[in-house]
Structure formats: structure tokens, C-alpha cells
Amino acid sequence: MGAQGMFNTHSPEFLEPDRPPERETPEKVQAFVVAHRAFFILLTVMVAQLLLLSAQVTRNHKVRLIQVWAVAILDPFERALHSVTDLTTGTWRTYRDLLATQEQNRELQRQLAAARAEIQQLSEQATEARRLRDLLEFKGRLSFQTVAAEVIASSPGEAAKAVFIDKGTDAGLAPDMAVITPSGIVGKTIAVFPHSSQVMLITDTSSGVAAALERSRVQGIVKGTGPNLCELQYVMNESAVNTGEVILTSGLDQIYPKGLPVGTVAQVGEGNIYKSIKLKPAVALDRLETVLVVLKPPSQALHALNSPSRP
């Protein structure tokens, strides 16, 4: 067996067998203290006597020096602790306040949304109240009996211009009754059911209204031509028609009372024999809400209003 057979010839213990093993740190400290025992004893004795002296010496207002030193030593730590405590409580308080503010903000946002919705609702109600007041006022000035109705639906399809109202035979309605608003005429009833009726608008191609120009009293027939448009037909080229002129019902069709606005002249053109007069309806037929249905005995020409002034 060689020299390296049983032993590790490169280990520190084999190379330096006399070197003492490394001590742990507490043992080093202990060894240091023991080696300088006298110095530490001197230090202890000096500190003890210093404390004894400080207990005897007084400073301002008879405060003992030891108290002054104790306060001086502890004061920075107390201040630091106070600062840390203040910072911690301040941060916590700020965080709590922020949470409360956030919650308050959310609540205020909710209240704001609710208030806006209520305002919108009240605004709608106010508008409707005004509209109904105007309608009532208008109805009061009429010389014939009417019944108010709400527009509840429109007929499907682009070609048919008709709406449904919430009054029917139970309210005394019948076909071919004029439907009007304070702004002008809307159309006439074409189908009446027990609790609702279908109203054909004046813009429907099947509609026809006997009308006359307000100034010249030239008469014609208003026919529906498309969405929100009508045409005044059978007006001779020689007749004087100006853009913006008002067209009223003539009452000759025995349906619409005389003197109600139909629309205003939007465009005037010359045709072969008759003029081509495009007119804009007086009533916004795409925003109908409440209408009046004229209850009239059949075959009776009616005048629109009791008073000379038009709505």
C-alpha cells in the first residue's frame, strides 16, 4: 500500500498537523474578553462611578445629570419611534380616508346618475305636459268634437305610411276620420278596431287631401310622394305659387276640416299643364306622439276653428 493508500495527503490536517482548529465567533469573543479582563474590569468600574457621579450632579432646575444623560440617549429613539408611529398612523388614516372617499365618490356617482335620469324623466314629462296643454288648448278652440289618442305603433314596410293609435270603436272612431295636431293635419283613419285604429298619413301615396294656397286660394290636391314629402297637384302653370307659401285644407274632401295647415311650399316647378309643387308637411310625421281624431258626422263640411286665429 502506498503513502496515499489510507490517508489524504493533501488535507490541511495532514500538511499542518499542529495548526489549532478554527474557533467559532462566540468563543473568539470570550477569549478576547478573558485576555483583556483587567481592561474590561476597569471600564466597568469607571462606568459605575460615572453613573454614581451623574446621580449626584444636577443641572438646570435641580435635574440630575444622570437624568439629563438618560433623556439625551433616549430622546432620539423616542423621536424616531414617534415619527414612525405618526407616519404609520398617518398613512393608515390616509388610506382609510381614501377608501371612504372612493366609496363616497361611487355613491355620489350613483346619485348623480339617478338624478340625471330623474331630470331626463321630468324633462320628458314637462315636454309632454306642454304638448298636452297645447293640444288641450287647441282642442278647446275647435268647433267640432275630437278625441285625443296616442300613437302606439307604425305600420311595417317602407311603402305604407301609416301609424296605429290607441283609440278605436270604443271611443267612437270610424274610418275616414281626420287625424290632426295643433301643427296641422296628420292623415285619416282607414281601419278601426275595438281599441285601436290605423291612420294613413298624408305622405302615403294613396292619400289625397283637398287643399288650397293660403294667399291665392288656388286649390289643388295634396298627394303623398314619399317619406316626409307631399305634392300639390292640379295647380295650373299660370297660377302664382311662391316657395314658403302655406297650404291649408279646403274642406272639400269632406274629411279634413277647412283651414288646417297641410304644409309649406318647398319647391315649385313648371309642368306641361300643371305646376310641380313639392311641399313639406306642417306636422313632423316621424315624431308623432299625441293626436286628435275629429269626430264628425259623415258628409258634413266642417270649419276648423271657432276663432279666426290659426293654431
Partner: protein, 148 residues
């Protein structure tokens, strides 16, 4: 021996004005610290003598105790490190330790007392020289007493 030193320290200045510069308890503490060459013993001896001196004085208790404890430690340390059997060595050591004692007391007075007493360097130097000479004589006497 410490007791005798204290007794003489209290008695002599009444009769001999120059004796107010003496510090016999200090010289005794230095001698025995050097002879015993034990630092712990020297600290204890110096502190004890100093506290007794404080108790007999009207000043604060602990002043002389701290100063003489420190001097005892230094004396024992010096006796271990240096050869001070010769006269010159003893003289130098005694003068140094008396000076350190005086300066340490002056610093303590300045730090602790308000207002601090005025620092008198002339008195410090003269006290150092007087005690160094006295120490020389005292140490020879104590050597003879010890041998007997």
C-alpha cells in the same frame, strides 16, 4: 497603609500649607500597583482609595475613585511592560501617573460641574513635581518596610 495615607492627607495640610499639593493616597495606590503587578488588584485598590478620599471630601463621590482606579490600572500595566526598579524609572512613572491623574480630574470637573472650576496648569505642574519627588522618598521607605 491606605488608611494611614488618608489620615495624613487629611491632617498634614492643616499644619503644612505645602502639603495641600500632596496626594499620598495616590502615591500609595501607585506603589502597590507596581509592586503587585496585578491589574485587577490595582484597579480595586485605586478605586477603593479614591472612593474613601471622596467620602472624606466635600466633593462628589466617584471623582477620585475613577481617577485613582485608572491610575492603578496604568501603573500595573507599566510595571508589567517596563523595568521600573531603578530610581529614574520610578520617578518618570510617578510623574507621568500624577500628571494623568490631575488631567483626568480636570476633565471630569469640566464635564460634570457647572460652572467648571478654573483650570490652573501651574498648580498641576507643581503638584506633579512635588508628588513625584515625594513618591520617590515614599517608595524607598515602603520598600524597606516590605523587606522587614
Amino acid at each position: 497603609m491606605a488608611f494611614v495615607a488618608l489620615l495624613l492627607q487629611a491632617f498634614l495640610p492643616v499644619r503644612i500649607p505645602l502639603a495641600r499639593l500632596f496626594d499620598l493616597p495616590l502615591l500609595v495606590a501607585i506603589y502597590f500597583a507596581v509592586v503587585r503587578r496585578n491589574k485587577v488588584f490595582a484597579i480595586g485598590l485605586g478605586t477603593g482609595i479614591g472612593l474613601l478620599q471622596d467620602a472624606l471630601s466635600s466633593g462628589l463621590i466617584g471623582m477620585f475613585g475613577m481617577a485613582k482606579g485608572l491610575v492603578g490600572y496604568l501603573a500595573a500595566t507599566a510595571s508589567v511592560k517596563f523595568e521600573i526598579e531603578e530610581i529614574f524609572g520610578r520617578l518618570a512613572l510617578t510623574a507621568t501617573l500624577v500628571l494623568i491623574h490631575g488631567l483626568f480630574l480636570a476633565v471630569l470637573h469640566h464635564v460634570l460641574l457647572a460652572p467648571p472650576p478654573p483650570f490652573n496648569p501651574l498648580e498641576l505642574v507643581s503638584g506633579t513635581l512635588v508628588n513625584a519627588g515625594l513618591g520617590l522618598v515614599l517608595f524607598l521607605a515602603l520598600d524597606k518596610l516590605r523587606k522587614q
